[in-house]
């Protein structure tokens, strides 16, 4: 039954006592707390992320070279036109695509194989130690790793060059100084660094496979290939996709590793797009042009991510 408030009653409502009002105020405070906790992070994000990005977006429409001494000049889409028609940009862009495809596919295949190996040897002694050691490359600063490898690739006292010389019986090669081998040599370093990450991802994916499904596959006498195809992949594909996505984005913006190994050389053999960007902005100080390239790269990265997320979502919807 519904109560209808009578007008007499409404007039007799006494003002709330002070403790009730304090309670309400504290209540509001409680709701304010989460907001207050978020504010520093948001501020940080705005100052270091949003504003620079917008600034970059703005700069990309200007002609502005720091060394020329001239003030910035609005030129619309001229920078973009310039970039699109620039052969060297296309060259380093296509190198980057080869780089991304090369590193990601090798790391994924190698990482999955090694991951499976580790997973299958769960009872082997020393496995934990081996895993820890295997993850070491991932934890090293890329610049430090580059220095290791520059030493190991060194034609006079590098251990890798020495081994190759011993194996082939020829003079020690200069792997990162030679146009023919530089790209592969640098790629090998990236593979060395990031394969452990894919091992980790593979192990996580394998861990997400229900034990009963694996046991059923055993009982049903499924072959290794079928077990991977029908049991492991359907359960672990989301984690694997996530790993591949992260590696792709990361690989796309590789800069520090190569820069400290070869500075993009010899010639422009290992000059990926991120290095082109660095050179234009911090060696030629052509900030307007560099900003335009950065915008293009950002859009490309977003496109990559969206494709992955789209596939991921669609598959997830399929499963549900």
């Amino acid at each position: 039954m519904q109560h209808v408030k009578s007008p007499e009653l409404a007039t007799t409502v006494t003002p709330q006592p002070w403790w009730t009002r304090l309670g309400h105020a504290l209540d509001r405070r409680e709701r304010a707390l989460p907001t207050m906790l978020l504010v520093p992070v948001l501020l940080f994000f705005i100052i270091w992320n949003v504003i620079p990005t917008l600034w970059m977006l703005g700069l990309s429409f200007y002609k502005w070279t720091l060394t020329s001494g001239r003030p910035e000049q609005f030129i619309g889409f001229e920078n973009f036109q310039d970039i699109i028609t620039d052969n060297s940009v296309w060259l380093s862009f296509s190198k980057t695509l080869i780089w991304v495809f090369g590193t990601v596919s090798i790391e994924v295949i190698l990482g999955m194989l090694l991951g499976l190996l580790f997973w299958g040897s769960a009872k082997l002694p020393g496995r934990r130690l081996a895993l820890t050691l295997l993850f070491a490359p991932m934890m090293i600063t890329p610049v430090a790793a580059s220095i290791f490898f520059r030493l190991m690739y060194d034609p006079t006292f590098g251990v890798i060059s020495y081994i190759i010389a011993q194996l082939t019986g020829q003079a020690a090669p200069n792997l990162i100084g030679d146009r023919a081998t530089a790209f592969a040599a640098v790629l090998a370093v990236d593979v060395w660094m990031w394969t452990p990450f894919m091992i980790l991802i593979t192990l996580a994916a394998l861990g997400s496979v229900p034990k009963a499904e694996l046991e059923a596959a055993e009982i049903d006498k499924l072959s290794w290939f079928k077990k991977i195809r029908y049991v492991i992949l359907p359960n672990g594909k989301f984690i694997l996709m996530l790993g591949i996505l992260l590696r792709t984005i990361d690989s796309f913006k590789t800069m520090d590793l190569i820069f400290s190994l070869t500075r993009g050389g010899p010639g422009n053999t290992t000059e990926l797009i991120a290095i082109t960007l660095y050179r234009k902005s911090f060696e030629a100080f052509n900030l307007g042009w560099a900003s335009s390239l950065a915008v293009i790269l950002l859009l490309t990265a977003i496109a990559f991510t969206s494709i992955y997320l789209f596939v991921l979502n669609r598959k997830q919807a399929e499963e549900a």
């Binding site: 229900p210 009963a212 499904e213 046991e215 059923a216 596959a217 055993e218 009982i219 049903d220 006498k221 499924l222 072959s223 079928k226 029908y230 049991v231 359907p234 359960n235 399929e318 499963e319």
Partner: protein, 364 residues
Amino acid sequence: MAEIRLERLRKEYGKTLAVNDITIKFPTSAVTCLLGPSGCGKTTLMRIIAGLEAPTSGEVYFDDVRVTDKTPQQRNIGMVFQYPVVYKGISVYHNLELPLIEDKLPEAERRKRIDDVAQILGLEHMLNKNVSSLDNATRQKVAVGRAVARQPQIILFDEPITNVDPNSRVQLKTALKRLSKQHNQTIIYVTHDQTEAMTLADEIALMKDGVIVQRDNPRSLYNYPNDVFGGWFLGNPGMNFVEYEVNGQSELGGPLFTRPIRFNNLNRDKHISVGIRPEHILVSPQPSAGAVRGQLTRKSIVVGGQYLLFIQIEGKMLKAKVPTSVGQAVAQEVWVECPLERVTLFGEQGTKIETELIPAQPVA
């Protein structure tokens, strides 16, 4: 044909003893149920038979072949798990077909077998559906079909219908029964549900604390439990136990009996329990010869329209299951008779006392 033989099988998890020295044979062409409460080691036992778990000690033989160290693949068995396990993202047909392909069966034979099981399990119209779109009960049917279509000599079921809704449960049970009679397979069926065991099994192995307490056909196991546990665990409600202090003597009388009953107290037990199933107790509103007087404290209707009576006799509580007519007729005062042929005596250790029960001549 494959008889499963376990010899002195033992499995420890750290300090927990899951399976304690079990030696048993599971015959060919029969459904044997491993029945027992949760945690009694029945699933562990089955997993050892499947090869998914290695025993701490003891041996597993299929016929005369020792398989203790063999992998599940090498053992060539079928198994259905408690939770429906299907290969996600592919069709029902493909799910059923996968193990058959591994068994290198020709296409036509595969199709025939799949059609057969699909028909029994009621999956004919779903063969092309993606298993991921099915509910749990249907998925479990697919899992059963996958195990059965291979026609292995041994099929293990690990509580396959526990997680299925009641309607599909009946369906699955009927299908299982039909399937189990088709080929001469050795079927082991693990369950904690006595109704399931009673309806499906040719033989039941009753388990408790890692040991097989009794192994018999369902009727004998129910009527003649050789252990207090069997009497208590089976039946709904379980057996009545009335404690008697006999002090090593071979005679007992009230409160259950009107005259002294002689039995063979070989172990000179001081305490014994008299066990009788609720449905075996005769209850009547009028006095009769051989019946003792009791107070009715509570009555309720159970499934099937029978009445469950709670009767107090000289401080002892008895549960009796009686027909509707009797249940309706009785009031406060009832007369209770425990027919001697339905009574089992259990000794101090809870094991059955093998004895005849002889009524003494009534005192004139």
